[in-house]
């Protein structure tokens, strides 16, 4: 665990302003994940889409369901960030927790960007967690564009 993360975990209630991360505790909150079209086969994303890449440094980017929608998250990704996406898939904070992962939002509050924390995980644990997230996201299906 990094120093920043420890702050977010232990000091959030007493000194929120000093931590850029906010531990998400609403287990039902949806976390939208954009999946690149090259990582879709036969309608399903790869589990790689639910594991951070090297440049992510252990933080799997998501958009918070309490602050945006699947559609707005998709549009932000494709038009503002100008990146490719086949659609918004989603897991909940609780599902990530079941996979052994904590989820964080970013301060200042109101910014929909957040991340699921893989920072302490090795390959096996990351692959395991990614597969559990994939299964939950696929159960839910692509939320936008619908029918993807």
């Amino acid at each position: 665990m990094t120093g920043d993360e420890e702050d977010a975990d232990t000091s959030a209630s007493t000194d929120e302003a000093q931590s850029p991360e906010e531990l998400l505790e609403d287990l039902a909150e949806l976390l939208f994940r954009q999946v690149h079209p090259k990582w879709i086969d036969d309608g399903s994303p790869t589990s790689q889409a639910f594991v951070p890449t090297k440049k992510d440094a252990g933080a799997l980017s998501i958009a918070r369901g309490s602050l945006t929608t699947a559609e707005r998250a998709f549009q932000h990704h494709t038009t503002v960030l100008n990146l490719e996406s086949a659609g918004s898939w989603a897991v909940t904070v609780g599902e990530a927790e079941t996979a052994g992962l904590r989820s964080f939002g970013e301060r200042p509050t109101g910014n929909p960007h957040g991340f699921i924390d893989f920072r302490e995980l090795g390959r096996k644990a990351s692959e395991r967690a990614g597969k559990i997230l994939l299964a939950r996201a696929r159960d839910r299906g692509c939320l936008h564009p619908a029918g993807e």
């Binding site: 790689q48 692959e127 395991r128 994939l134």
Partner: protein, 401 residues
């Protein structure tokens, strides 16, 4: 779990069988042999099929090929020692006979014993010299050294048969009568053969499409899935001809067929033609195979930075490996995998089977990574494969179903 494969095996013994006392029963063949055998060579077969105990019956051809190799080298040695002769003495070949009575433990270790011709003493003759020279030649190739000068180059071609059925993860240690010896592999065999000529023979198992059949010349053209882009010639016989004819479509390629045979390869490992065609059988699920190939072709086109600036093009070896294994897995009734490129140039195959998420990653550099996760319990299996055989991979995937 369904039975995914079967094979016949000879049992191994912890110790060589004690020789029965010689009996005088009128001179039957067995009794003549019994008591007149002397150890000639132990071939220790390791890896792949040989690590499961016993000796696969299909590998017995290697023992016959070894005997032929010894005889061939011995003949050349004899002719070199007798430059006035054009051929060996009558009965020379028949004077050398190897028998297999024991397969010892330690992978599979057949003990080859030489039949001593009646009324003679075994000595350091051409056959023993041939065995020693074969060992020295293999040793030299392993050490990247020139062949022994006394090794008859005309005999090198005989290595085409010996080791032809070896798989990439298998080897034969030529122990002679000692406790260790040089290790003979597919690579060593290929290097030996390329010392002699420009081509070598190797077993081929692949999927192909027949595009032409010539009934008069008993040959056909087959484009192989893992082979060169163009069709190669293959001989036909009475067994294979009807099967090949059945899958020929007028003016274009017919449905895919699984073939096994012997290929002729050049020094760059390119398949030039098939020297023999043993088996031709239709592919069970041609549509799934087509979908797999389309997907593999799709990811083969990925360029540098294909994932929002990240990602390198696929490693050709990893792609070829995935192409072979994923098609072979279909013969184990494993559904077509979802296939993805990885950012470092590998290929990842994924299945969702009975509440488990399973993946196999063909990584650049020849590594295989596999993991299966029960998404309800969170339990993960991350096997370390002892070989890269399709059977072992299939067993891993099938454990999830």
């Amino acid at each position: 779990m369904p039975d995914t494969s079967w094979s016949l095996r000879l049992p191994v013994r912890g110790r060589p069988r004690t020789r029965r006392p010689r009996r005088d029963t009128g001179g039957s063949h067995n009794d003549r042999v019994d008591g007149t055998l002397e150890p000639f060579a132990r071939l220790r077969l390791t890896g792949g099929r040989f690590d499961d105990g016993g000796m696969p019956v299909a590998a017995l051809v290697e023992l016959a090929a070894y005997q032929d190799l010894v005889v061939g080298v011995a003949k050349e040695l004899y002719l070199t020692a007798h430059p006035d002769r054009q051929r060996v003495l009558r009965g020379f070949t028949d004077s050398f006979e190897l028998r297999l009575r024991t397969v010892e433990e330690g992978s599979a270790q057949p003990v080859l014993e030489r039949v001593k011709p009646s009324g003679t003493l075994l000595q350091h003759d051409e056959f023993v010299q041939a065995r020693e020279l074969i060992d020295q030649a293999v040793e030299a190739i392993v050490a990247k050294l020139p062949l022994p000068e006394s090794f008859p180059s005309d005999a090198l071609v005989l290595f085409n048969r010996f080791g032809q059925t070896l798989r990439p993860d298998e080897a034969i240690e030529l122990r002679g009568i000692g406790s260790s010896g040089p290790v003979y592999t597919r690579e060593v065999r290929r290097d030996l053969l390329l010392k002699y000529g420009n081509v070598y023979l190797e077993d081929v198992q692949d999927i192909g499409w027949v595009s032409e059949v010539d009934g008069d010349k008993m040959r056909c053209l087959i484009r192989l899935r893992l082979g060169p882009g163009t069709a190669v010639a293959a001989p036909l016989d009475e067994l294979t001809f009807p099967h090949v004819k059945d899958v020929l479509a007028p003016k274009h390629e017919g449905p895919p067929v699984r073939i096994s045979g012997v290929g002729v390869f050049d020094a760059d490992r390119r398949l030039l033609r098939l020297d023999a065609l043993h088996e031709v059988t239709p592919v069970d699920d041609a549509e799934a195979l087509d979908a797999l190939d389309q997907r593999l072709n799709e990811i083969a086109e990925l360029e540098e930075g294909w994932l929002d600036g990240e990602g390198v093009p696929l490693d050709p070896s990893a792609l070829q490996w995935a192409r072979r294994v994923l098609a072979d897995l279909m013969t184990f009734e494993i559904p077509r995998a979802r296939v993805f490129a990885t950012l470092d140039g590998g290929v990842q195959a994924e299945w969702s089977l009975e509440g488990q998420e399973v993946s196999i990653t063909f990584e650049p550099g020849g590594k295989l990574y596999a993991i299966a996760v029960n998404v309800a319990s969170g339990q993960a299996r991350e096997p370390v494969f002892t070989s890269s055989s399709v059977e072992e991979i299939a067993q891993f995937v099938l454990q999830a179903s």
